[in-house]
Each structure stands twice: as C-alpha cells, then as structure tokens.
C-alpha cells in the first residue's frame, strides 16, 4: 500500500518534471487523480484509513499523497511559480482564508459541495470547509494536582492558589484568547480580541512561564517529564501521552476549539476532481470514521448523527456538541484581519522583552 502510493507519487513528480519542460500534456493525461497534502505522521495515517482510501474507492479516483508539517510557505511557492503540483491541502483554517484573500486558494462553489453547504456557517469560509477539530486545552500533571486541579484560564493565571511551573505556546493564536478568558471575558464574547488587554494579562503571567513551547510533541513531553506542572497544549497530544501511562489530564473547559480545513490551490492541476474529492472527504460517515483512529474530532458536525461514533467515544472529542459548548470557537476571520496580523507581529516583541 505504502509502496504503491510512493510509486504514484513518483509518477506525479516525474510528470511535474516533464511539465517543467513544457510537456505538461503528459502530466495531466491520467484523468481522475489528485494530489492531497496533509501533515503526515499518525494523523495522515488515520485519514488514509478513515477518509482517503474510502473516498478514492467511491469516486473511482487515485489519491496521491504528500505531507508537510507547515504547508503555507509551499503553497505560496507553488502557486507563485504558476504551476502548482498539489490539488487539495489540509491546513489550519487561517491559512486557507489568508491564502484565499491573497489569491493563492480557489474560491469554492458550494453548490458543487453539498456536504459543505449543509454544515453550519461557522464551519466554513468562502475558500474552505472544516476537516477536523482539535482544541488548545489546559492540561496538568496529576502528580502535582491529584485533586482540585486547575479548571479554567483564571486558575492557570492564579499562581498563589495553583503553585507550579507553567508553559504556554510560543505563538499568539489561542494564547491571546486564553489570556482574555483568564481576565474574565466570556468564551463566546472574545472577538474582536482586545489585543492590548490580552498582552497586559500575558505580562502578568510571563515571569511564571518556564517554557514557551514551539512543537506539539514538546508541549506534551514537558508535562510528561515533570518539567512543568500545567501547560496549554493540544488535546490529542495530551491524550496520547496519557495513553502511554503518563499521569496527566486536561479539561475542555475554556478550551480554544481550532480546526484544519480542506482548500484547493489556485490553478490546481485537477480542479474538477479536487472539488469532487473535497465534497466526499467531508461526508458525515467518512468524517465519523476519523475519530475511531485518532483523537481528533470530525470537521463535519453531522458525523455525530451517523451512529458510527459511540457516545463514550464522542464524549472524548473536542467537537462533540457538549464539549464544544464549553469552549471558545476560534475566529480565523479575525486572525486573518489586519488586527489579527498586527497582533501576530506584536508577539515577537513581547517575547523578547
């Protein structure tokens, strides 16, 4: 299976190489295929079983896979070159939106994507549809807090009541939201973010932050190694180390619900097939199969109505309606706005002071 898709990928690369020399007709002759890109690892493996293979079978197309941890620079380069190789990309929703606004991502015609048209509006943008959900949650060591564990961002900020070492992500996205919730803003009243207020609140906790983490693996490792006692981390990372026996836990309370979405590169080589695939990939049943293989929630909320996800499993997922209600839904539209971009640029100055 792996070798086969490797071969196909090799064929695409070969085709692309020929395309570079002006023989692009050879590259596009194989109809009914697309190149799909996600972030690799266990996550892409889970999608292959739950979504990609079944979709390929149902549509009778070939799905060539590629993976990259951060697709954004590659999207810019590929579209900038005028000859993108990729068709559909699974990437944080903010990049789909920003890419769309910069002319790097195709605008979607939702009349051709009924599965997306049926989703609540907050789950799509003009350029993308939610593919899966994860959450930035408050996680803690059960060794340090066997009971009375911190349960809100106000607790995280309360260094007297909850003494211990802390870590946050070295990135403003979700971190500013947490700061505002710690300062008393309700999860559903966050946007537009009061950036000044958020940074003021962050200055307060800054001396107590031991590590500003950069990779998801690092965040869980810090907790597992006893380097910190509480951390903002992605739910899937925490549950993964918990499954391996680490004494760690987390709460969905005031988590920041984030998503990756599917979007199509501007000028994608197989645009029509890509649109068909996008619709198929967010089909409720395929989507319901995803959390059977990995700790992420389906991007299409209708997946919870299919009966595929057992109630006890659903209760563990970030986008399950009861869990979702406890959390703040991230506004990628705000983060892509000029204010959002300005907040992102301000982060480096905050870190260096």
């Amino acid at each position: 299976m792996k070798a086969k898709s490797g071969l196909k990928y090799g064929y695409v690369l070969f085709g692309a190489a020929l395309g570079l020399f002006g023989l692009d007709s050879i590259a596009v002759q194989a109809a009914g295929q697309i190149t799909f890109v996600s972030q690799g690892g266990a996550y892409q493996q889970a999608q292959t079983v739950a979504i990609l293979d079944p979709s390929a079978k149902k549509l009778g197309i070939t799905i060539n896979q590629d993976s990259i941890p951060d697709a954004w620079p590659a999207i810019k380069t590929q579209v900038g070159s005028g000859k993108p190789i990729w068709d559909v990309v699974d990437t944080p929703t903010g990049y789909c939106l920003r890419g769309g606004e910069q002319g790097l991502i195709e605008k979607l015609d939702f009349s051709k994507i009924p599965n997306a048209a049926a989703m609540p509006e907050a789950y799509r943008t003009p350029y993308s549809a939610s593919y899966e959900f994860y959450s930035s949650v408050l996680a803690y060591s059960q060794k340090t807090f066997p009971q009375n564990a911190p349960n809100s961002w106000a607790d995280f900020w309360d260094v007297k009541k909850f003494p211990g070492r802390r870590a946050l992500r070295n990135h403003p996205i979700a971190t500013l939201e947490a700061a505002l919730m710690a300062d008393g803003v309700a999860p559903d009243k966050l946007y537009p973010l009061d950036v000044d207020r958020a940074f003021r609140k962050l200055e307060e906790i800054k001396p107590h932050i031991t590590v500003w983490w950069t990779s998801g693996a690092q965040s869980a490792q810090l907790l597992n190694d006893g380097e910190v006692d509480m951390v903002m981390a992605w739910n899937g990372r925490v549950s993964a180390v918990a499954k391996e026996g680490a004494k760690v836990n987390f709460t969905y309370n005031q988590g920041i619900l984030q998503s990756t979405s599917l979007c199509i590169l501007k000028g994608a080589p197989n645009l029509d097939t890509a649109v068909k695939f996008l619709n198929e990939a967010i089909d409720p049943v395929h989507q319901a199969n995803l959390p059977l293989h990995i700790d992420y929630g389906p991007g299409n909320p209708k997946a919870f109505e299919t009966g595929v996800i057992k109630p006890e499993r659903a209760a563990q997922l970030p986008s399950e309606p009861t869990n979702a209600a406890k959390q703040a839904l991230m506004s990628y539209a705000w983060w892509s706005s000029p204010q959002g971009e300005a907040a992102e640029k301000r982060w480096a100055a905050f870190m260096q002071k």
């Binding site: 620079p73 500003w212 190694d225 380097e227 640029k345 480096a348 870190m351 260096q352």
Partner: protein, 270 residues
Amino acid sequence: MLALVSPALLVILLLIVVPVGWLAWQSIYHDGFTLEHYHRILTEDVYWRSFALTFEISLLVTVLALLLGYPVAYAANAVPRGWSVVILALVVLPFWTSVLVRAYAWLALLQRTGVINQFLRYLDVIGEPLALVHNTLGTVVATVHILLPFMVLPLYATMQKIPNDLMQAGASLGANPAQAFFRIFLPLSLPGVLAGCTMVFVLCLGFYITPELLGGGRTVMVSMLVSRNVELYNQFGAASAVAVVLLVSVLLIFVIVSRFVSLDRVLGQK
C-alpha cells in the same frame, strides 16, 4: 585551465550564485523596487534585539569554545601520534551525530528531571532543581558542544606546524615551560586561534535548531526571525532581507579577519 574548471564554476554558479542572488533580489523587489523590508529591520526593535543577542551568544560561545578547545588541541599536539588520533577521534565523533539528536541529548541531561539535576539532588548539593535549560544557558552549552570541533581542528593544524625545536631552543636559553609557552608557542598558534574563532563565531550566527529547542522560546536568534518572517509576511522578501543582513555581517567579519590572517588558513588546509 579555464576549460578544466568550468564544470566546477558552473556548479558554483547554479548552486550558490544564482540562489543567493535570487534571495537578495527578492528582498528588494516585489511588484516593483522596494526597501520596505530593510526599513523594517532598521526601525523595529525586534530585529535590533535579535541581532544583538545573536552576536552576544556567538561571542560567548566562541570564547568558551576557545577556552575548552585550546587545551584539547594542545594535548592532541603534544602527545605521541597514537594518542593524538584518539583525542581527535573523540572530538570529531559527536560531529557525525545529527544536531537534532545532540540537542535532545542535552535536553535529557539539563532539564529539571534530567541527569545533572537528579545527580546534584542525590548528592544533596541543591534542594531545588537548577534552571539549566529552556534559557540562554542551555542554548550556549549545547552550541559550544556542537561547534567545538570547528575550534579544535584548525588549532591542531596550526600547532602541528610549530617546530618543536623552537620550544627546546627557548628552554636552552633559560625560559621555564610557562615562559616558553606564552612567549613562543602561544603567539605562533594565534593564526589557528583566529581561524577557529572565526569559524565558530560565523557558524553560531546562523544557529537555528539549538536555540529553538533549548532556548525555551526566549532566546530569539536571527535565524528564528527568518523563519518567523516567512510565516508573518506575505512575501519571502521579508525573510530574505534578514538573511541578507546576516550574510553581509558575515562577509564583513571575513573581510576584517582577512586583514590579519590569510583566508586560506580559516577555510582550508594550508
């Protein structure tokens, strides 16, 4: 002669001159000529602070690498040939291990529940674990370790060429070993010192993975600004400009150093 080297020149042209030229071009051209990226670097504190920190860390790393590397090179030079091979092998061996692996190894050693802290607590030397990593200290320790071979090897090469007779002549004229070392050996080894320091300093300026993994997010070096700018700005030019400024600083350092020592000695075998 030209015909013989022309394939090599072509490779250099394709793999170095063209990409670097493209990099520089992007930093000043995007839908028209623009200096906005350079203007930003000159006016925003973020850049100034990172460049200052990067030079500070590089200087510290260079000094530490020299203090650690000189005695090692000296020993490798002074002992019989068999032993010097062993010493050099020990210096070069970690060099074959990935930088990433070594960074994680240092994490395992330095962190709160790491080997060093646990050992010190076992001995009751400290009550609370020391903050050895996730800060500038951790970054410097690991960087020194990674760059040490670049200090030791040029030093050793230079010391090899210092004739032993000179020290003996000094001794026969009444110099004690310390005098002989400071008045004969040390000055003669200075070109090696300069070569090693330049290599370590320049390589350290571009370090990325080590500060990223061991700096705890606070140690923002220039290379990290390059990657951050790719994410933050819509144009690669924003990142290219930072890279160009760093490249120019490195070239300036080479120009200054070349006034004191032949560049062949820094970069090559002579």
